[in-house]
Amino acid sequence: MGRDIIPLILLKEGEEGIIHSVSGGLGLIGRLASMGLTSGMRVKVVRNVGGPLIVTTNGTRIAIGRGQAQKIVVRRLTDGTGKAEPA
């Protein structure tokens, strides 16, 4: 349960995950972190139908290109209640 670690891009609309790691250049990592996308943070995928994704984290909604979303690895939260396991 909730053990699968996958790129953000594989989360379906409405699914949530805890960010496990972010790879890529320091510029990208820093930029994502300043917007709240960094390890330990909880994200929810709102839109994922080809083209960029929309995710929400901490009450912010962020549109993010598929290339960048590939580099964010999340641990999927499987129970629908969205209760987070300790990160």
């Binding site: 930029r31 300043s34 960094t38 549109a63």
Partner: protein, 660 residues
């Protein structure tokens, strides 16, 4: 009289209502310019409070303070070098974690900070409660709750600025530390680097930045630190590749502490308005038709309301000309410069103000309520095909009004390459003035079919924009991917003040260009179209046109039409004026005369060339300025000339073969 001057910097991430606060504080005293040597806007203004004059500088919005973008670099250099008396960090009460991230960075710079916690109403609607006292206690700095859109909290903010600058308030900021497992590395780095860090740079800040991999600071230090020490630093950093994460984690731990102590969030029972709207607007199947509908509405409103006013102004200008003419006496000089040059050139450009006003207001409205970000999101996949960014959609849209604000609007793009390409493609967006010329000529020559011709020309132009973008981006940018990360702000009620300010700013930029560059060029054009012969046939322009006649033959243009195309560079409408003068008609009679002197094939070619030819000189000047490179500017100029020539020839030859 001000006895005391204070320097206050406004900082904040995008979409926190920073410009609203700035506008309320500075009103009409604000001055908009550029940061020295940068294409980033610098806004400053004054607020007078009793005997104190507060100079307020609006720092560019940035998510963090690491030098990855021009905006971030400007913001932090300002804090480090100018040492403002107080920094006001505008934070978004409904997304407090993210706002605090930027605060953590500012606090490290040891500057006196006040947090203005804006959008408290939005936070409340979402069931977020923030205990201001507890938050102040945790952060150790003043926190002022605000609802800037309703003008609430401004007074409290001003008095907090005053008392902090007088040292009346307790100020003991808590600072985010890096996560525990990396403190030893921090100390090791400090041991090596400390003695090389000189004011205005602070030791703790500099070392944190080095751990974050900040390109500017790393570069700076690598030059001051002796090579053997520097290689030790690099070895340390290499061994601890995760230093950046340690810094980030430390900040988020600190933020979590703040949130835990002061924020309580109730289960958001109600589905947010934004959620519901986004569910419709960002779904491609619905979002794209809706976007097209919205644009159609914007254009029909703009032209429906703006065109009658434009025609009214036009007739006013004509009466002005007939009224002024007798007063100017016999001198052909004075008459030419004033009537043909100034009233004919600048006057015509200014008649477009109503159309632009409605268009820019509609755009500013869409921007303000938060729709533009969704439009950029929906369009991103298409924009990518032509090598642009979703966000490029916005300046491109502005281009339909006038290319000048579109070129300047490209500043919102972070990547320099996307910005260059967006500016490169902007002239292919038919602006109001181009459309006016095309409509007039098409109506005169093609009668009932004019609508189809105009439509085909606009559609063709947009297709060419797409193809050019695809080709240029493939050729020059290869397969460089452009990261797309964009915040989608919450939808909110339009704020008339913000919309008014944005519209005003864009209109002023347009008028300034019209008032300076176009004046000069209108007068010059008149000069060249009058001397030495005393009429246009015997003038420099006439000579130029005639000598270019051989070039015009394959594209079906006689020398008069060539002159009209050349004249369009001063301002698009001038080509009509030139046609009028050259074919010996008053502007009134142009509709009757044109069909007799232009064949259908020539007219088609003329229209195509006019659409694709170099933009007006005001746009060219702004393009050069914003591209900042002669190479790019000249290639785009030559590209347009070649493209218009080739396309004109293709259309003309095809029309001849098809017997049109």
């Amino acid at each position: 009289m001000a006895d005391r001057d204070l320097l206050v910097a406004l900082a904040g991430q995008p979409n926190v209502g920073k410009s609203t606060v700035f506008n309320i504080l500075t009103g009409l005293s604000q001055h908009v310019g550029n940061w020295p040597g940068k294409t980033v806007e610098k806004k400053e203004g004054y607020y007078i409070s009793g005997a104190t004059r507060i100079k307020i500088v609006d720092l560019p919005g940035s998510y963090s303070l690491t030098a990855y973008s021009e905006e971030e670099r400007i913001a932090r250099n300002f804090i480090i070098n100018e040492r403002p008396d107080v920094i006001v960090l505008i934070a978004n009460g409904s997304a407090i974690e993210r706002s605090l991230y930027l605060l953590a960075e500012f606090l490290l710079l040891k500057a006196p900070i006040i947090v203005a916690l804006n959008m408290m109403d939005v936070a409340e609607q979402q069931g977020i409660r923030i205990d201001i006292d507890l938050l102040e206690k945790y952060l150790g700095i003043p926190v002022i709750p605000m609802v800037a859109s309703k003008n609430q909290g401004i007074k409290a903010l001003v008095s907090a600025i005053l008392s902090l600058s007088e040292g009346k308030k307790e100020y003991m900021p808590s600072i985010a530390d890096i996560s525990e497992d990396h403190r030893d590395i921090f100390m090791e780095l400090a041991d090596i680097l400390e003695k090389y860090i000189t004011p205005p740079y602070l030791t703790r800040w500099t070392i944190t930045k080095i751990m974050e991999g900040d390109p500017d600071i790393t570069e700076k230090m690598s030059q001051t630190v002796p090579p053997d020490s520097w290689s030790k630093v690099q070895a340390l950093l290499l061994r601890h590749e995760d230093s950046l994460f340690a810094v980030v984690r430390g900040r988020y731990d600190w933020i979590e502490g703040a949130v835990r102590s002061a924020v309580s969030e109730f289960k958001r029972g109600q589905i947010l308005f934004t959620d519901r709207l986004d569910d419709i607007l960002t779904r491609p199947v619905l979002g794209i038709p809706i976007l097209l509908g919205v644009l159609a509405l914007v254009f029909s409103l703009t032209y429906g309301l703006g065109l009658p006013l434009q025609q009214l102004l036009e007739s006013l200008m004509n009466s002005l000309a007939t009224w002024v003419e007798p007063l100017l006496g016999q001198s052909p000089w004075l008459r030419g410069i004033i009537v043909d040059g100034l009233i004919g050139g600048v006057g015509t450009v200014l008649t477009f103000l109503p159309v632009l006003l409605f268009f820019f207001a509609a755009m500013a409205f869409l921007e303000d309520v938060g729709y533009m970000a969704r439009a950029a999101f929906v369009m991103d996949r298409f924009m990518h095909v032509i090598g642009l960014h979703g966000k490029s959609f916005f300046p491109i849209c502005l281009g339909f009004g006038c290319n000048i604000p579109a070129v300047m609007g490209a500043r919102i793009l972070e990547s320099g390459k996307t910005r260059l390409l967006t500016i490169f493609l902007t002239p292919f967006v038919p602006c109001t003035a181009k459309l006016a010329v095309v409509t007039l000529v098409a109506a005169a020559i093609f009668g009932k079919k004019a609508f189809i011709i105009s439509w085909a020309l606009v559609a063709g132009n947009i297709l060419i924009l797409g193809f050019s973008g695809a080709i240029v981006s493939r050729l020059f940018f290869k397969r460089q991917h452009m990261p797309f990360i964009m915040e989608l702000p919450f939808y909110h009620k339009p704020n008339p003040r913000t919309i008014g300010m944005v519209t005003w700013k864009r209109i002023v930029a347009f008028v300034k260009k019209a008032g300076t560059i176009i004046v000069v060029f209108s007068v010059l054009l008149w000069f060249f179209s009058y001397f030495p012969g005393g009429n246009i046939e015997g003038s420099v322009l006439g000579f130029l046109g005639r000598s270019m006649e051989p070039i015009g033959r394959p594209i079906g243009l006689d020398w008069k039409m060539i002159v009209a195309v050349l004249a369009s560079v001063t301002a698009k409408e001038n080509s009509i004026a030139a046609l009028g003068v050259l074919y010996g008609v008053g502007e009134v009679g142009i509709r009757e005369i044109l069909p007799n002197v232009m064949s259908h094939a020539s007219a088609l070619s003329f229209l195509v060339i006019l659409m694709l030819f170099a933009p007006c000189v005001a746009t060219l000047v702004v393009m050069k300025q914003e591209m900042g490179s002669w190479r790019w500017f000249l290639s785009s100029f030559i590209f347009m000339l070649l493209l218009s020539y080739v396309s004109g020839m293709a259309v003309y030859q095809f029309a001849l073969m098809a017997g049109i």
